[in-house]
């Protein structure tokens, strides 16, 4: 009996997990990025309350992404993580400060509150920058020898990484701003609209810059996008992205409450899709394919059995928890 090839299924699951993380922690990191710019303390209370009950679940997708990579594509895990030693360290410590800020900000004395404001803001900002550098290093690829990462722990620090880091900050901030449009009202909502309007343009420019740079990172990526007939077949990706950005702008102008957030998610989807097109079928770009990195079929099958049952259950109760906390955040209904 030839075992069924589970690699495509696991690619989808891993892709789904990482994308869920980017979207869900993306908007609450984005709220943190915008936190210091907020008009006043009352606004900051509301901003934090809008994500407090759900940030924990959002961040869990990061763990799932890491564990799914370890379990389903262990060789990729064993090569990529050492290469990203410092960005991961920086991200993890930033997430620590930001995570405890959620628990402690409302319990702190008013005089100490600004410290937790700073922990939340800079934690979110630094974690996002680190993730952006991870993205940049990932797209550029890693030096590999046999089954090991063979580069230095500073390979990630390159100009392209700076661009992706800044782009991700803008992207998460857009998700955060549109989330706040949906979850708040009155002057805070107006403020979020103004932020979102500027950010959508900035994000479009950033995505353009990353997209133009990426094909120059490797002949393979160049061919993927610019060889015939790909250049025609793939042209809807950038065109749709530009159109989406415009649409989000218009929805913000029309004072739509929910659509800007959905539009921002769609923008991220396009970016993610573009990345997948550039990298397919490699999981360690330029060197190791999904199939080379895959775990033994028995291991992938054993985990798939439970995952196919558990993942829908997780999505269901996550949805329930979002449903319970639906609607606008209001002042005076703090839970702390």
């Amino acid at each position: 009996m030839t075992p069924l090839d589970l690699v495509p299924v696991w690619t989808l699951i891993l892709g789904f997990g990482v994308f869920m993380y980017v979207l869900m922690d993306g908007f609450d990191l984005g709220v943190g990025i915008l936190f210091r710019r907020a008009p006043d303390d009352a606004a900051r209370d509301l901003m934090m309350n809008s994500v407090a009950p759900i940030w924990d679940g959002n961040e869990t997708w990061l763990v799932l992404g890491g564990l799914a990579l370890l379990a389903a594509f262990p060789l990729a895990f064993a090569i990529i993580l050492p290469a990203l030693y410092f960005p991961i360290l920086i991200m993890l410590t930033a997430l620590i400060f930001r995570g405890i800020a959620f628990e402690l900000r409302f319990k702190a004395a008013p005089s100490a509150r600004h410290r937790w404001d700073a922990a939340f803001h800079y934690g979110s900002l630094v974690a996002t920058l680190a993730q952006g550098f991870v993205l940049g290093a990932f797209v550029q690829g890693f030096r590999v020898q046999g089954r090991f990462f063979a580069g230095s722990s500073w390979d990630w620090l390159r100009p392209f990484g700076v661009l992706t880091a800044l782009s991700l900050v803008l992207g998460y901030a857009l998700l955060g701003a549109t989330w706040l449009i949906m979850k708040t009202e009155g002057s805070l909502q107006d403020w979020a609209r103004r932020q979102a309007r500027g950010l959508v343009i900035a994000v479009l420019l950033a995505m353009g810059a990353v997209s133009l740079w990426t094909p120059f990172l490797g002949a393979r990526m160049w061919e993927r996008w610019f060889s015939w007939p790909n250049i025609v077949l793939l042209s809807p990706v950038p065109i749709l992205t530009a159109w989406l950005a415009l649409w989000v702008w218009r929805m913000i102008d029309r004072r739509s409450e929910v659509l800007p957030f959905l539009g921002a998610i769609a923008l991220f989807t396009m970016g993610y899709l573009g990345l997948a097109i550039s990298l397919w079928p490699n999981i360690v770009p330029h060197s190791i394919s999904l199939w080379d990195a895959a775990a033994a079929p028995r291991s992938q099958a054993f985990l798939l059995l439970g995952t196919l049952f558990l993942l829908p259950v997780i999505v269901a109760y996550t949805a329930w928890s979002y449903w319970v906390f639906r609607g606008k955040v209001r002042a005076g209904t703090g839970y702390h």
């Binding site: 309350n49 869990t60 379990a71 262990p74 402690l104 319990k107 996550t318 906390f325 606008k328």
Partner: protein
Amino acid sequence: MMTLDPLILSRLQFFWVVSFHILLPAFTVGLACYIAALELMHLKTRDRIYLRISVFWTRIFAISFGLGVVTGIVMPFQFGTNWSRFSDITSNVIGPLMAYEGLTAFFLEASFLGILLFGRKLVPPWAHGFAAVMVALGTLFSSFWILAANSWMQTPAGHEIVDGRFHSLDWMAVIFNPSFPYRLSHTVTGFLVTTGFVVVAVAAYHLRHGRAVEECRRMLSMTLWLLTVLVPLQILLGDMHGLNTLEHQPAKIAALEGHWETQAPAPFIVVGWPDQQAEVTRWALEVPYLGSLVLTHSLDGAVRGLKEWPRDDRPPAVIIFWSFRIMVGIGLLMLLVVAVAAWLRWKGRLYDTAWFLRVCEALVPLGFAGVIAGWVTTEVGRQPWVVYGLIRTADAVTPSLTGGNVIASLAVYVVVYLLVYPVTLYYQLVLIRTGPVAEEEGAPAIAGLQRSLPARAAAGAVPEPQP
């Protein structure tokens, strides 16, 4: 002079981050179960004392759990950043176990935690109770999977090795490997006991100051009943775990007993200083026959000494000799406390014996120290292997790391944890000092984030008059 060896430094770093992390599950696993029990008792009896106790502990739980989550995220990344060869070699076997931990436990905990902390007024009471039970279940599932992975590293089974990498042959044999049932029950019971002693200490503190008397009596009484069962049970489980270790990892037992020569009958060395170089235990204070009695449950059973293993295969005896004695000493001290409590209860003096309440307060760190000591005993005792008898720890470290890399990351973790742990502890102490408080009239005890409350939830949320 110590050179900048990435292996030693990575081990130090792992020790540092896992030791700090384990303090939180040691507290939150038990506390989640306690909160779930209180919520269920409140649903069943409608006695609002349970509710006030639960609200009090839930606020403390939120801080510990939050820190547990963020320090827990650090852990799986360690496997990749510092132990990438270990990941590459073993992930076919332990990768799925750890992924199952994430799938069955982390999401359950995180999603229902939101409802538990902020949803009391937003969902019907039964749903809130359900959320509490789910959080508790999540912590137990988490313990199940991570200890299955850990036990497999201690007593690997159900696998084959092909081209230097592990492959699973039988998942039931992998998960229910020889040490797993013992390790799981001993660890989880240890977590419950640790939480129990914290609850007892907090209740004792407030009782001694005459505050929240009703709630604290209930806390003290409930928890001491539980500990009366759990502490002797834990000692029994420890003995069984020890015998299991003797069967599967005899070198670990020889090291923690400080035995170098195989003897029959063997004495028990109460205190001493095992010298790895000279292969003797110096200044040993021995009780004849007791070693055989404890390990073989007979007076003249043979007990193997460390000299039966090559030098390179021996765990560092002095560390686990002492960590084991600290753990056992803590267990016996706890047994004494529980016995005194039972006697005081029989005399009807449990709540007003000031010296006993003071002792209870002083014993807060006991469980945590016991958990760390036990963890050190089993993990250092596994050395020099990362997968016992098969892969050496030295062959598991990431090849690309330099000593400087790990010094930098270790320094960051040291600074961050030394900053974050005291700060979160401080905020928890503030909450603990405040104690269980009477519910405020009409105040939304817990969050409101929606347009309007569902009618059912609102009806269930009408505050009752204070007694």
